[in-house]
Amino acid sequence: MAAAAATASSLHGVGAAAAAKPRSAAPAARRSVRVAAAGSSRGRLVARNAVAAKADEAAAAAGSKSGGHEVLMFEALREALIEEMNLDPTVCVMGEDVGHYGGSYKVTKGLADMFGDLRVLDTPIAENSFTGMGVGAAMKGLRPVVEGMNMGFLLLAYNQISNNCGMLHYTSGGQFKIPIVIRGPGGVGRQLGAEHSQRLESYFQSIPGLQMVACSTPYNAKGLMKAAIRSENPVVLFEHVLLYNLKEKIPDEEYICCLEEAEMVRPGEHVTILTYSRMRYHVMQAAKTLVNKGYDPEVIDIRSLKPFDLHTIGNSIKKTHRVLIVEECMRTGGIGASLRSAIIDNFWDYLDAPIMCLSSQDVPTPYAATLEDATVVQPAQIVAAVEQICQ
């Protein structure tokens, strides 16, 4: 297995994950040897990498230059905000209960004391208007970070997000830029009910002019938050309600994640599994079972929901020739649907099997635990899907 890059870190408590690698880390020669040894893609699929995961973890922990420090996901986001607000006085936060309350998921805890009530603005409950206010402020030189207390609430701000965030740079002929970050927790939680369990990435993906990223680990949360704030584009940063207490060791020194890049979670040979946000952990859990059954899945956290990192994804498909997409969006019109089309358009010749896409059911998320579990993709389904693809 290739060595982990200097900026990689290991993840605790959510199932073993291989270190994140930059795009072109694996040397070409080694890759072709492995492919040759594995036989044809339709023949026996023998796992060569069963022990690779553990070795990678050890390598990754040593990757950080200094000791690094452990943080929970919400603390990582908070660190990013504090660093950026210290570096650039035009960065400000607005949202409901972000100030005195510290944020309903504690992402902005203590920021109002540090930066004051104007830079960490407690807004009234008026999503459409305060998002629009963020747009106007961005047009006039500020860099607002607008929080939706739950991503679902931003449906109320759809007018401003679509028409103004997405369009104003274009309709003004490039005169005004909107360097705004819109963030908040979304996704299916634990029995939060239908309206608090929405996945807005599928609703926003068509909006031209909007960039979208989804974080999934404390490491990439901090890096993506910083990159989103520094970007001149309007960026929607999707967090997940269930991931805020993930713990990970992240570097002490400053780092940024590229907004447009996908993250290689676990290199493999047999199938490319594309996923993002919380489903990454269901996929990695399924990966453990798959490895025991003799499969070698390559897991990529796509991170960038719009635009897709077709370079990383394409290189993976050229290697494995099989794709499984695992997402938390509803099936209809989800991120998976768009990703499938993009892959077919660009990499049709490399596919040996139809692209499979596992999505949530097209139902409003039920309250009952058993039903809620059935709406999202579970690891057993991922295992079955890989077995089907790799037949």
Binding site: S172, F176, I178
Partner: protein
């Protein structure tokens, strides 16, 4: 026409015989803000309603002109520019030079001129789809506006915005919005940025805060964004003036049929800010009220809601048959044409002669003709312009299969864009 004599004291004096407003209860201690940052404001709702009927009785003011000769000529020229430009737009539309939805401002010039001529370059204007004249008053060159309307690459928005999306960064014109109400939060944000620059970045202009004007109509005043922004602007004392151009009609919907309480100025005091009603067909009255409202904002005293009673002489847009408005209503307002009224005032007050005013009109005719020639001669945007301004940072188009950002591919703008 009588000039308004409008003092600050009158502006803020409580209105007599208004039930309940002055007796608002104090907040209980538990509900007051914990930190001192937001001052506990007195809960009196002070506001003054000023109707032109009230002012008409003020004889003393009529004795002296309210403006100097230079100011009067500036106002006249600006209103004439607005009128002649819009008339030319109608001509050009029917000749097939501009398309889509075009909303003309004829009759409402007093509001645009009365307010915008008081602003500095650093002050911001946010408008709706009826934005051509706001752009012109703010200083956007007529040729840029006309070229934009013709969809040419030399338009102020490179032809990408059109009639309803006029923007100009050098003139701080922040749009041009097609959905009613969606510009008001943007204006509130611009005002927030002005306050932020002053308090956080410690960048203060010599005159005070930069002011933002939000223009919108009577129909918008029933929209949620209007109320949400009135609340936020007053809460944080933002330097903004909400200017309602009440022309009584929202396409074919009469204001009286759409609104439970049609007196829009009253909605200001409900949020704790002054609400003022002014005769929007009289540029000098509008200017008086605007002066005070803008100065209030600049001093950091917060927003004002100004309702201008005005009228559009043409239909909602050039596609509107305008069959619902009654002829006597139209003729009533035609008799109050703001340009005719100002002309009469200037001549009666001996500020200029008729021939001087005629020569201004002739100059403006030439300017507008030249704008049309410029727009006609300008090139259409090339195909390669299609994807140029979608993202400020073009990496938003993503990484292509060859590893480079797709926008760097010279063939990227040909054919169908792929994700």
């Amino acid at each position: 026409m009588a000039a308004a004599s409008f003092t600050a004291a009158k502006f803020l004096a409580p209105v007599a015989a208004r039930s309940g407003g002055d007796r608002a209860p104090q907040l209980p201690a538990s509900a007051r803000p914990r930190r001192g940052a937001q001052q506990q404001q007195p809960r009196l709702r002070t506001a003054l309603a000023v109707s032109s009927d009230v002012l008409a009785g003020n004889k003393a003011a009529a004795a002296q002109p309210a403006v100097t000769r230079e100011e009067a000529l500036e106002l006249y020229e600006d209103m004439v520019l607005g009128r002649i430009f819009e008339d030319m737009c109608a001509q050009m539309y029917y000749r097939g030079k501009m398309f889509g939805f075009v909303h003309l401002y004829n009759g409402q010039e007093a509001v645009s001129t009365g307010f915008i001529k008081l602003l500095n370059q650093a002050d911001c204007v946010v408008s709706t789809y009826r934005d051509h004249v706001h752009a012109l008053s703010k200083g956007v060159p007529p040729r840029s506006v006309m070229a934009e309307l013709f969809g040419k690459a030399t338009g102020c928005c490179r032809g990408q915005g059109g009639s309803m999306h006029m923007f100009s960064a050098p003139h701080n014109l922040l749009g041009g919005f097609a959905f009613i109400g969606e510009g008001i939060p943007v204006a509130t944000g611009a005002a927030f940025a002005a306050k932020y620059r002053h308090e956080v970045l410690k960048q203060s202009g010599p005159d005070g805060l930069d002011v933002t004007l939000a223009f919108f109509g009577d129909g918008t005043c029933n929209n949620g964004q209007f109320f949400e922004c009135l609340n936020m602007a007053q809460l944080w004392k933002l330097p903004i003036v909400f200017v309602v151009e009440n022309n009584l009609w929202a396409i074919g919907m009469s204001h009286l049929r759409a609104t439970s309480d049609p007196e829009i100025w009253k909605k200001g005091p409900a949020f704790g800010m002054p609400g003022v009603h002014v005769d929007g067909m009289d540029v000098l009255k509008v200017r008086e009220v605007a002066k005070e409202a803008i100065e209030r904002a600049r001093r950091g005293e917060g927003p004002t809601l100004v309702e201008c009673e005005t009228y559009r002489f043409r239909g909602h847009s050039l596609a509107d048959p305008d069959e619902l408005r009654k002829p006597d209503e139209k003729s009533h307002y035609a008799a109050r044409d703001p340009i005719t009224a100002l002309k009469k005032y200037i001549i009666e007050q001996n500020l200029a002669t008729e021939s001087e005013l005629k020569s201004i009109e002739k100059t403006i005719d030439d300017v507008v003709e030249e704008a049309v020639e410029f727009a006609d001669a300008s090139p259409h945007p090339p195909r390669s312009q299609l994807l140029e301004n979608v993202f400020a940072d073009p990496k938003g188009f993503g990484i292509g299969p060859d590893g480079k950002y797709r926008c760097e591919d010279p063939k990227f703008t040909q054919g169908t864009a792929q994700v």
